[in-house]
């Protein structure tokens, strides 16, 4: 019996020490923790380069999107929309190509060929204040941040990136009659229907004169 006790105590102590010295943490959680120690500006820059730009490959062609939205809006929301939380706007990433019909102060109007007709598209070139760039990929969540101000600041920083890298050059180069290829975000508010024409925040532009 003494021998049993003599062996139990060290094994139990060893077991306790081992249990408390090893922990398992998901790699994703650790990576997310490191990312979120970055400032909102650094986070936005990293997110834009490493996640948003590659994500642009998943944009839906605009005329197919609008056709599907007319025929089966529930399916479009189910397949393509991204939303934060409860009651917030839904975001969709679309792409297209068309001819610039007009260049106004805060918009560029584009006609996109669709079947035998045309779709009117408005590329917004004014200051954008929403959350499309942050939320359209579904890869950033409020819960990733200890503080929602950082979550909001990331949205502002991403909007600045788009303004500098996409909107400012678009305003400078857009001319009536030029061909433009675009990728952009559509924002649909809660309980709104998908509109017949598209009002788009451009996130990638290629103008072919």
């Amino acid at each position: 019996m003494k021998k049993v006790i003599k062996y139990i105590v060290p094994i139990v102590v060893a077991g306790l020490l081992l249990y408390n010295s090893v922990y398992f943490k998901k790699l994703d959680a650790k990576k997310a923790a490191i990312e979120n120690e970055l400032s909102p500006n650094a986070f936005a820059q990293k997110f834009w380069a490493e996640k948003f730009v590659p994500y642009m490959d998943s944009a839906v062609e605009i005329s197919s999107f609008l056709k599907m939205a007319k025929e089966n809006p529930e399916e479009v929301f189910r397949r393509y929309s991204k939303t934060q939380g409860i009651g917030n706007a839904s975001f969709f990433l679309v792409k297209g190509e068309g001819i610039i019909k007009a260049v106004n102060e805060d918009e560029v109007l584009v006609a996109v060929r669709s079947g035998t007709g045309e779709i009117k598209v408005k590329l917004n070139t004014g200051i954008y204040f929403g959350n499309a760039v942050r939320d359209v990929t579904g890869k950033i969540s409020m819960g990733d941040f200890s503080n929602t101000m950082d979550f909001n600041s990331v949205s502002t920083e991403l909007n600045k990136i788009v303004h500098m890298q996409v909107i400012t050059p678009l305003k400078a180069k857009a001319t009536k009659g030029a061909m433009v290829q675009f990728i952009g975000c559509i924002e649909i508010g809660q309980e709104q229907m998908i509109p017949e024409y598209a009002n788009i925040l451009p996130v990638k532009i290629n103008i072919i004169q």
Partner: protein, 317 residues
């Protein structure tokens, strides 16, 4: 045979010890079906509504409830938590007084095995509250600001009344507002002061601001109570038709005021959604669910004279 028997005892005892040392939820003792609702203050009808809605939903789900008033004081909030943690509550539905100061209370609850669901206001921490159901105040303020710019015609002088310092909602609403308005150089803020989300203080601060800045044409207030107080001050000064007042919350009196073309706009929060979701989550936790989203934003909707008929106090019709 003797050695094998000793080895078996050792293995059995070590296994039992490690098993009992594990933080296994299946081994937790089931708490009483009682939920505590801790609210920042019962001196503001919005928070009264929030607390009572949470209590009503919890009762409907079969729980006893008690509402604890923190009186906007972190020390009182701490006392509330201490009383709750010795009284076998199974969950706390929590509206914090301070995003940093309230973290310690939530930690204590977590250590005691009591889940905490934050409502409306957050704590600045992850992995401590079981879930946080929060108003998306920043985005709501962005929408109010866009309307403010339109109503003010992109020019004029205005003042801002802030909420309680230390409440993240104060900062979120103000920052959201300025993220839009500061892009218009002809819109100038000439004064900014806290009125602690309080109606009477809102009135006093507005009176004082009017003395120094009699020519303002706009006021943005971090909540409807301050907006109603500010409006009262403007009526007293005979400037209610000239100065446009913008609030935040979607309180009953603010909605009526917008219908009467007095207040210009507010941001409708949805305390019913937040409070009921918290109670539902707590019920799910009681029944064994453990994976909850860390934070959930709940949208805030712009209410103006154009769409006010779709809304009532604290929600949509």
């Amino acid at each position: 045979m003797k050695k094998l028997s000793t080895l078996s005892i050792l293995v059995l005892l070590v296994s039992l010890f490690l098993f009992s040392a594990c933080n296994n939820s299946g081994g937790e003792k089931k708490k009483a079906k009682k939920m505590a609702i801790v609210v920042s203050t019962l001196n503001n009808p919005w928070f009264v509504f929030l607390a009572e809605t949470a209590a009503a939903k919890a009762k409907a789900l079969g729980y006893e409830t008690k509402i604890f008033d923190s009186q906007n004081n972190t020390a009182t909030e701490t006392d509330n938590f201490e009383n709750i943690l010795v009284a076998d509550y199974c969950a706390i539905l929590f509206n914090p007084t301070d995003a940093d100061g309230s973290v310690a209370n939530v930690k204590k609850a977590k250590e005691a095995g009591v889940p905490v669901f934050c409502i409306d206001r957050e704590i600045n921490a992850k992995g401590i509250a079981t879930s946080q159901i929060l108003s998306d105040g920043y985005s709501g303020s962005v929408d109010i600001a866009k309307y403010f710019v339109e109503v003010m015609n992109k020019k004029g002088t205005y003042v801002e009344l802030l909420g309680i310092t230390g409440d993240n909602n104060t900062r979120a609403r103000s920052t959201g507002f300025h993220s839009v308005v500061d892009n218009y150089p002809d819109l100038k803020m000439v004064a900014r002061q806290s009125a602690d989300f309080d109606r009477n203080k809102g009135m006093e601060v507005m009176e004082s601001m009017l003395q120094a800045h009699p020519d303002i044409t706009g006021v943005f207030c971090g909540n409807d109570a301050m907006a109603m107080g500010a409006y009262q001050a403007l009526v007293g000064a005979g400037k209610d038709k000239v100065v446009k007042v913008f609030g935040f919350d979607g309180a009953d009196d603010a909605i009526k005021s917008i219908k009467e073309n007095k207040l210009a706009a507010t941001g409708m929060q949805f305390p019913k959604i937040m409070a009921e979701k918290a109670a539902e989550f707590a019920d799910q936790y009681y029944n064994g669910k453990r994976d909850f989203p860390e934070k959930i934003p709940v949208a805030v909707e712009l209410v103006t004279a154009k769409n006010v008929d779709n809304y009532m106090g604290y929600g949509k019709k």
